[in-house]
Symmetry: C2
Subunit: 285 residues, 2 copies
């Protein structure tokens, strides 16, 4: 496995691989790899000839009061895990290589980024689309693999790919979960033991809404009440939002007639950890 920190070097290598007709799969990550990332790597391995994983804790997608500095960076362990999955290239640049001092370009998807996570984290998605576009240009992948856990990110990136005519296929892998249902996230490591014991309720609330939908409930307000009632049992987290939205526009749905996304973000009381989760009704992202 090649570990490279230089964007030009990766670009040159990937250009050669493409000339040799290799199908390249990219798995963009911020490191702190867990089962979720490993599922993305596995998907890339299954569908492509060459798997490239990027590890870059992207400062531009963190807000001023967010967890950029304490974000976990177990680089050697990450490389070991990537190698075990058969990853071919790890691209791990330092911030100065991605954002030199005179960097001044951004790419943004409007509308979709003003709601849900975008409303809570101003600038977050501009940071995401800018870095992902850079990674696409450096690696020039045929396929890029993302997790469904970041559902809004998936929809924003799909929009960017379409709007900018990017020659890349996005491949979305279902959210990986702990046995108790908690969506696996690098940020779970921030949780105190008592928070950890309680947060499986987040997914349980979503499941309860899905069950109600399966039984015929189509009104979003009913399903949202159902989730919020569940979350009222929690003493160590509070929901920032619980929303049911259209998977194209991300606008709230009053009634569920087609594919719908139920998305939530919750914040814990002790460690101030933000956790997101979602479920898709009647289709996929």
């Amino acid at each position: 496995m090649n570990i490279i920190d230089n964007p030009q070097e990766v670009q040159k290598l990937c250009t050669q691989l493409r000339r040799d007709r290799k199908k390249i799969g990219l798995v963009p990550t911020m490191g702190a790899l867990h089962e979720g990332h490993l599922a993305l790597l596995k998907r890339a391995k299954e569908t492509c000839d060459i798997t490239v994983m990027s590890i870059f804790v992207n400062p531009k997608q963190f807000g001023k009061n967010e967890d950029l500095n304490r974000y976990p960076r177990p680089f050697e362990k990450d490389c070991q895990l990537a190698k075990e999955q058969g990853c071919d290239i790890v691209f791990a640049p330092i911030p100065e290589f991605m954002y030199p001092s005179n960097f001044m370009t951004h790419v943004a998807v409007d509308k979709l980024t003003s709601v849900l996570e975008g409303a809570q984290r101003p600038g977050h998605f501009t940071g995401v689309t800018t870095i992902v576009l850079k990674l696409f240009n450096i690696v020039m992948p045929d396929s890029a693999v993302f997790g469904q856990k970041d559902a809004q990110q998936v929809l924003v990136l799909k929009r960017m790919v379409m709007d900018l005519n990017l020659p890349v296929q996005l491949d979305i892998v279902p959210t990986q979960r702990e046995k108790d249902g908690l969506a696996i996230s690098s940020r779970n490591s921030y949780l105190t033991p008592s928070e950890r014991a309680e947060v499986p309720l987040i997914y349980a609330g979503l499941i309860k809404a899905r069950d109600a939908w399966k039984k015929g409930d189509r009104k979003s307000s009913t399903l949202i009440d159902c989730i919020r009632t569940k979350y009222n049992n929690a003493s160590l987290f509070t929901p920032e939002y619980v929303s049911i939205v259209d998977t194209n526009s991300l606008l709230p749905l009053e009634t569920i007639s087609d594919t719908a996304l139920i998305a939530t973000a919750c914040k814990t009381a002790e460690s101030q950890t933000r956790l997101i989760d979602n479920i898709v009704l009647n289709g996929s992202l």
Copy 2:
């Protein structure tokens, strides 16, 4: 020569050409071809295996009160001229193919776009960088050829290419001029005969400043005075700006010690035509 309006079709064709190891040159235009564009086509022909010219009057780079509707669109004549230059592919999409109704992405270069043309034409450069990035993704050229006449555009696009790690070389061709020095522009066709007789003064002013610089004048204020004095002889145009700036930052220079860009935009009194021109001292863009 292939004339194609469908982005997917051009992308597919260019992907195949790249697989066949052809070097692709792109000449992005808004049509209304003149000697300036023909020089760009010639450069692409000389340096690449396949020359693609795009013709697209890009609505996103026109302001609300600008000349989008009256911008000349002599499509058949343009195709004839392109063919005569040996152009291989003309890509001429309709606006709906480039900007479907749910289009919502933009790419922007900050700082560089708030001065000169950017100050006079808010949103103009965001329109330019967004469409050029789309064209790059559709055609995937090895080289893209632009004219020096749009000097700020060149510098903004160079910045975008660097910041986004785009695998494309920008190739800049000197401004083509009429015998009397007027920079050739599609917008020259708007000029009334009396305006046309007077506007060669625009370049004459720049030349006068360059001569002063050659003789040892290094103070920008002196050189700018020299140009403005020249323009005071004009009764049918007034300068919107006359600036001497650093070619990296586009910030004003007090003293010229390294490469400098003298740029001006003038507006005519009768036809309300905006004309831009520039000259580079001590180097190139």
